[in-house]
Symmetry: C2
Subunit: 315 residues, 2 copies
């Protein structure tokens, strides 16, 4: 039996201790702890990495503090549009959904697309039609409504600005503007790994923009031979850099360790093109990496027999 | 000055000579020739690889024989939903659109997203809103209507089947069912490369399904350091395999030649998981590869100072 391992993130960006109250920080740390406990409970009972990443991401989706599921930010026309993806490292099966509305847990819809359809990626209204056909759980607009998110939209509209999840400029102004994608990677006792990612996108976004979260290879990737990766950051740069699969290829083709592959992509290649963000990654040996090139990243991890560690800022 | 090179595809699948009339074959070859001439005219005049792949793909989109733009297949609810992407190898900039309707040339919308927005990927109605904001060319449903495509939908609906672009089973029944994605890769005299892909998806598709065509890294990728790639095939397998970027990584990290990288991905890795299809690829030295693991692939290529070569079946 392999020793299990689990890591999650709740978004990266300009997260400064000077702008955080102790109460708020405690809430974030508790949210991270709840999510990792949800995943660990499954791994502890010899459950699958796939179940664990889904459970951890569902917990973060259900928590209005994080920009995914409930608590998703608002688009320019006052809607919540959700993206998610999931991949299993043993079979390389994957599922993803982009721009769907009123789905309570987009990560579970992504999993259903993987398991109950012949497809990998579904978009918009069509994805909602599929969700109805499999009795996925819907929630009304009121469920997703979080006053702080709505206030952010009004503020963004005043200046006609788009707040990226991780925009340093926007975030430096106001601590409330640091939201982000959520995600998880896990290794189970059977030796299999998996990854999942979910997001509400960016405040005031227009034009059906999608970032890297629903893109297999960019925001999410898992392969037992190499690693499981879930990203958070300025999605456009992560798509162009095919970030998640790049880490896998650096390990498989160039022989890099998980740590060296993460360093290369997050601290060199992404920095070079201005791609701010981070990711959580692990390999089938239980090595965990939580690299980010932004001011901070909400993150937590646990290994079998060890304590849960949560962190927000740079060391 | 570099010698220019250009390669295009018009889809892969079960394309058998025994099911093709000489007239039909001539029409396809002429369509391929028209497209490659449109691209070559630009390269000959010292134009950019980016302009060349856009021109070649626009020509294929405007030709009702190919499943992209005009001639796109019908979704289950009788609509044409279009996907496209484009990437330039010098700057690694990229643009993509998924599930958009009534756009005359989706590849040009993908390029506009790359050049006139801060985003890489836009989906559905939102993408159409962006298209209107930049005065992109729209066309009404009648423009896209091709009787043969509509008949295919009725036939697919009778049996509640989804025809993948490249489904061997469906295609073997009737030659008319061999459609596919279109794409182009080019090297210009300045030494830069680019790639573009466009598709109408699959007949009778539901649920807002998207394949690999709008996914940077899967259906399209370009990097001056390695290669430009445009894919056609069973999109779900191409997404899970991150096909286009995998070829790039095998070259960059493992030192494989373009040919060996293409062989590894198309003839080994994709075959192993049942991923039928092919791709066109070239590198900055002007090497061209046109590999496919299906019965055939509509394809054409030209190198500076050489004749245009068109082909459909296996050698």
């Amino acid at each position: 039996m392999t020793n299990y391992a689990l890591a999650i993130h709740g978004g990266a960006g300009t997260i400064l201790k000077s702008l955080m109250t102790p109460e708020k920080e405690n809430q974030y740390r508790q949210g991270l702890k709840d999510a990792i406990e949800a995943g660990e409970a499954i791994l502890k009972n010899k459950g699958t990495a796939l179940d664990a990443v889904e459970a951890a991401v569902r917990s973060l989706e259900n928590n209005p503090l994080f920009n995914a599921g409930r608590g998703a930010v608002f688009t320019n026309d006052g809607k919540n549009e959700l993206d998610a993806s999931i991949m299993r490292g043993d079979t390389l099966q994957a599922g993803a959904v982009a721009g769907v509305r009123n789905i309570k847990n987009p990560v579970s819809l992504a999993r259903a697309i993987m398991e109950k359809s012949e497809h990998v990626l579904m978009c918009g209204e069509g994805a909602a039609t599929f969700a109805r056909s499999i009795d996925a759980e819907f929630a009304d607009d009121a469920y997703f409504f979080v006053q702080a998110r709505y206030d952010q939209l009004q503020e963004a509209k005043k200046t006609d600005r788009v707040f990226l999840d991780h925009s340093g400029e926007a975030s430096a102004e106001d601590n409330k503007k640091k939201f982000g994608t959520v995600g998880a990677v896990a290794l189970d006792v059977h030796g299999n790994i998996a990854a999942a990612t979910s997001t509400g996108g960016m405040t005031n976004k227009k034009f059906g923009r999608a970032g890297d979260s629903p893109i297999i290879g960019a925001g999410t990737y898992a392969n037992n031979k190499t690693c499981a990766v879930s990203c958070t950051g300025h999605g456009e740069f992560f798509i162009r850099s095919v970030v998640a699969y790049d880490i896998s290829c650096l390990m498989e083709y160039k022989g890099l360790s998980l740590k060296d592959a993460c360093d290369e992509v997050v601290h060199k290649k992404l920095v070079k093109i201005g791609g701010e963000g981070g990711l959580v990654a692990l390999d089938a040996n239980g090595n965990i990496e939580l690299p980010f090139n932004s001011e901070g990243m909400y993150r937590a991890s646990v290994k079998q027999g060890e304590e849960i560690a949560t962190a927000i800022y740079r060391d």
